[in-house]
Symmetry: none
């Protein structure tokens, strides 16, 4: 089955944003066994959009649209598709109620143009938008399958995964043997080193297939196979998973697509362990990534962003001798990382205390190089561990990698504990 | 003049990489006054590639190719283009010498397939590859202009900028006027309400053009015009900018593409003002977005993530009477937001203190609805302002919107100060 992805939006043609939606959908469709033959980007222009639709219909079985279904005058995707199929448009009442509720709850007047977001093409299946307002849609006509999705990735992704994908599986993929996949998650290792370690396996392996890819400082390996039943697929996948885990036992942290911080939050909550943190160069990024996980309140008590030396001394009792004077180790040092982790743990009275101090750049500080970072883990009744990192990249990369490296070290500590005292409800 | 960008590579169709080349070239072409009408991605398949070439020739004046000119069997771009134009291919001697030199310098035997990288289409201008090995090319035929570039961005970008762009300016753009744009940035207003307020202007306006779009909790309006010189363009753009600002004076914060937090950091640093923050439901997101700005160390001292009530009481002196007992206002309340902002300001001894407390969900707390958030701004010697927000969306959205809403309120406060005591080096 052949697919074409049509992304609609002049902002793409002006280069204001990159077409990450096409990448996401291409990965998802490949996993469904659908071959993407073309990706097209067209602007907010009805005639050119209809032209693109005609071409796509001539060469693809499945046509997916992203973008152009918002409230503004420029949003024309549904209108152009309806016109080229000579179908009419109408307001979907459920979608309209959803839009109206949104404004009512905020006690904000709903402007007329928002009604546009509840429009669907007659005789199609509306795809509810759980995150935003614009309703999507799915339908089949003359052996062609059409899916219309919103442009913003945070609306598009869940609508595809929760609504469009099941619709495709039910309507378009009935005769295909389904593809089953497992996501193996790795931390503390880069994509190229991971690929290097798995290269023989990747080459010798035809079924299941192995596809590594990097994503926000973590590496994921997707293993996939076609099989008549999930049970048969999982048998094949589990054998390969064990082989891969045996090659990288210290880096594979999950066999489901879960971020490392969520695994840590779940494990610590299950074990009744509590956490606090002191951040200098990461300035809150560590704590925000932990607290972004639902349920983190049960294990994370809080912490301190000690961006200035005054804050380090005042709130975390870092001795001024560590920070001031020519012979002082300085804020970016093992000694300070250690004190920060221990002091925040004591202040918050938690089982674990984390700290990060380093030079995120641009420009060195304390005559220390950009990318030099120290992270520490303090634990009640245990010796504090400090790790030195030498990172490359932009300020943002260095901050992100510092957080990921510290979370990786914490995961290793928790993993050791779990081996010593196994818990129920383990992810691995 | 209309352009189409054709990116060639199966890795794009599999979603293994994102098409960042199309974004780069779109920005470059817009700046040259060339309108990109379509971006196409096609795999390493000769017949589908020729099909894409035929379509592009029917609708564009300039066709740019990226990718598919390497040494492997899959690299077919030049071959397919030559076939569809019925032209022959030959080795370009200078390009061949460049390839040979590369291997000689490394004392590596050059395999036969590398000769492919020196191939050009007869009668075209070779574009030398300073970074890699594959030669690009440029030519005109029947009023159409063709540019062939490598796939790897680090080879493609310099080849476009140093070789293809001058070629286009000399051959294709002799009578074109360049496009000049300004990015107007807005906060504290949604895309649809903004568009609603500007709708008359958008409709009455043909030159410069107005294009609003939303991006990570901020709204940007791009105004563009073609003009013979930058001075003439800026005169036209500034008139329109003033009209737009007059309609939304309380929301337009910049006329350059700068995030709100960067503007705040720059302003406060210029004015010698300092900042601290206390975060509950946002758990560090506010501080991380501020510290993500280079130079924030000069104005941001740090703060406290008081995720638990214990931390609120212990580190920020929130009276237990506010938090405990049936009649207590609770952690999510005006009173607590106020204390948090004032206490963190005093603890960090800064000019401003910010706070956020709310219910990010999932699931209510203190019998309060998800999305109820209080943000506060404390200032030395001034009364503390508290704002109630009623937000919708995922936990992540609510956290992000809380931060954006608070930064917006802080910007308004700073804006008032600047009107009272104007500074040099203003962004607006």
């Amino acid at each position: 089955m052949k697919a074409e992805i049509i992304a609609v939006g002049t902002e793409l043609l002006l280069g204001q944003i990159v077409n990450s939606n096409a990448q996401f959908l291409s990965v998802e469709l490949a996993a469904l066994g659908i071959d993407v033959y073309f990706q097209t980007v067209v602007g907010d222009n009805s005639s050119r959009l209809q032209e693109a639709i005609e071409i796509a219909r001539s060469r693809a079985d499945v046509i997916l649209f992203t973008g152009g279904i918002g409230p503004t005058e420029d949003d024309l995707t549904k209108e152009a598709l309806a016109a080229s199929l000579r179908r009419s448009l109408h307001i979907d009442q459920l979608a309209m109620d959803h839009v109206q509720r949104f404004f009512d709850e905020r006690k904000v007047f709903m402007t007329e143009n928002n009604r546009k977001q509840a429009i669907i093409i007659e005789g199609t299946t509306p795809l509810a938008n759980e995150i935003g307002l614009a309703v999507g849609l799915a339908f089949a006509e003359k052996d062609k399958y059409y899916i219309v999705l919103p442009g913003p990735p945070r609306e598009m992704k869940p609508m595809f995964t929760d609504k469009a994908k099941p619709w495709l599986q039910q309507h378009a993929l009935t005769n295909e043997m389904p593809i089953y996949s497992k996501m193996l998650k790795f931390a503390g290792i880069g994509e190229s080193l991971l690929e290097d370690k798995l290269i023989d396996l990747i080459h010798s392996q035809t079924d299941p297939t192995i596809a590594p890819y990097a994503k926000e400082g973590e590496v994921t390996v997707r293993i996939s196979t076609k099989a008549p039943s999930e049970r048969e697929a999982m048998e094949k996948l589990t054998v390969l998973e064990e082989q891969i885990k045996a090659i990288l036992p210290e880096h594979m942290y999950a066999n489901i697509d879960v971020p490392l911080e969520q695994l840590i939050v779940d494990w610590m909550a299950d074990a009744g362990l509590t956490l606090s943190a002191a951040e200098s160069c990461t300035g809150g990024l560590l704590m925000q990534s932990i607290t972004n996980v639902p349920g983190s309140a049960s294990m994370f008590k809080g912490g301190i962003v000690c961006y200035s030396n005054e804050m380090k001394m005042k709130l975390l009792n870092v001795p001024s001798a560590f920070l001031e004077g020519v012979d002082a180790p300085g804020a970016v040092s093992r000694q300070v990382a250690e004190v920060l982790a221990e002091q925040v743990r004591m202040t918050a009275d938690t089982d674990f205390g984390l700290s990060v101090t380093g030079v995120a750049g641009p420009g060195y500080s304390e005559r220390k190089p950009v990318g030099l970072v120290f992270v520490a883990i303090a634990e009640r009744g245990k010796a504090t561990e400090v790790f030195e990192l030498n990172l490359k990249g932009t300020r943002e990369n260095i901050r992100l990698r510092s957080v990921k490296a510290l979370l990786y070290r914490l995961w290793r500590r928790l993993e050791e504990r779990r081996v010593a005292t196994p818990l129920e409800g383990s992810d691995l």
